[in-house]
Symmetry: C2
């Protein structure tokens, strides 16, 4: 399968197997699986154990909630994401709860929680596609999100579609091999931009 990462160094199969589909199967996600995905997110690390992550969840089983959530995506994402059986918004709390000061890493820590969610999904044969293209102000209005919380990602969850059932455009996207920059362009030693001897 072309989507398995062609890595330069060995990685755990959950890293190699994860990818972000545009096409989803109609197969619903069982609620115990969904609970485990968010349970995994819950156990991510965070600065001061603040746990700044919050989610708004919408399953196709609740059509009104699902439509509200779709409305929070930019049109280009709405188009493909509506085939996913489950959608969510990722939200982070801007301030620390213990003293109200700004949490400069809250968005980073939401990303850590999302990493756990993806890991758990992959382990269960599920796929996650995250989107930066959301309409945060629409989400605030529709779900009553307070000022101290920032919606930042859309999250589609489900089983990947059988490729034969996809329109040509999505099939092309979902069969393109995953590509990454060389590791040497990412990990530096004493001078910025110069590959660390450890990875070089």
């Amino acid at each position: 399968m072309s989507k398995i990462a062609k890595t330069d160094h060995p990685v755990h199969e959950l890293v190699a197997r994860r990818w972000s589909p545009y096409g989803y199967s109609a197969r619903p996600v069982a609620e115990p699986d969904l609970r485990s995905l968010f349970e995994a997110a819950r156990w991510a690390p965070s600065s001061y154990n603040e746990q700044p992550w919050r989610y708004i969840l919408a399953s196709r089983d609740d059509p009104a909630q699902f439509e509200r959530l779709l409305e929070c995506l930019v049109p280009a994402n709405r188009e493909w994401a509506r085939t996913a059986p489950v959608l969510a918004l990722g939200v982070f709390k801007r301030s620390f709860s213990h003293d109200g000061s700004p949490n400069a890493v809250a968005m980073h820590d939401l990303g850590l929680a999302a990493g756990n969610l993806c890991l758990e999904a992959t382990a269960r044969g599920l796929y996650v596609h995250q989107m930066a293209g959301i309409l945060p102000e629409r989400a605030r209005e529709l779900f009553g999100i307070p000022d101290d919380f920032q919606p930042i990602t859309g999250i589609a969850i489900g089983y990947a579609a059988d490729l034969d059932t996809l329109p040509e455009k999505l099939r092309r996207r979902d069969t393109t091999p995953r590509r990454r920059k060389p590791l040497g362009e990412l990990v530096f030693g004493p001078r910025w931009g110069e590959t660390s001897e450890v990875v070089g």
Copy 2:
């Protein structure tokens, strides 16, 4: 072992077993393992496949580089992190490479890469402790980090210390059970703050 997460719903053992030690063993991290940790980070998803993550890496084998990296941590973190055999800084690129526009989710995507790094570490018996308490301007000076890149996290990597060898303060920290907010406070349905029926 008290550090294994007591979860309310089943999660993959790599999620349950991960925790952030303050005390590290003197055992070095083999270079192939280190390469696999950053290789796992490399394969995280990111908005527009920008891959905004960069790392500055310092192993105890290079004492000058290790000291420079320690200098970028706030004193309270320097104190315990100096026992780790490997330190790194997590840095994100602020702008998109394809058009130079601001990347509003770059920090989030660095968190996704960190999630993969932690997964790979846990699978290899290694432990990661991330820190928000760094001195970004010191890091800029010491490593020549350009304006378009933002250092945001410190990362300690190694094997957890034998608890008997730790001073009392660190032993207490490293034996405290992991705690999290209830899942119902994190996952909402149609109204903010009201638990989604799926997880409730």
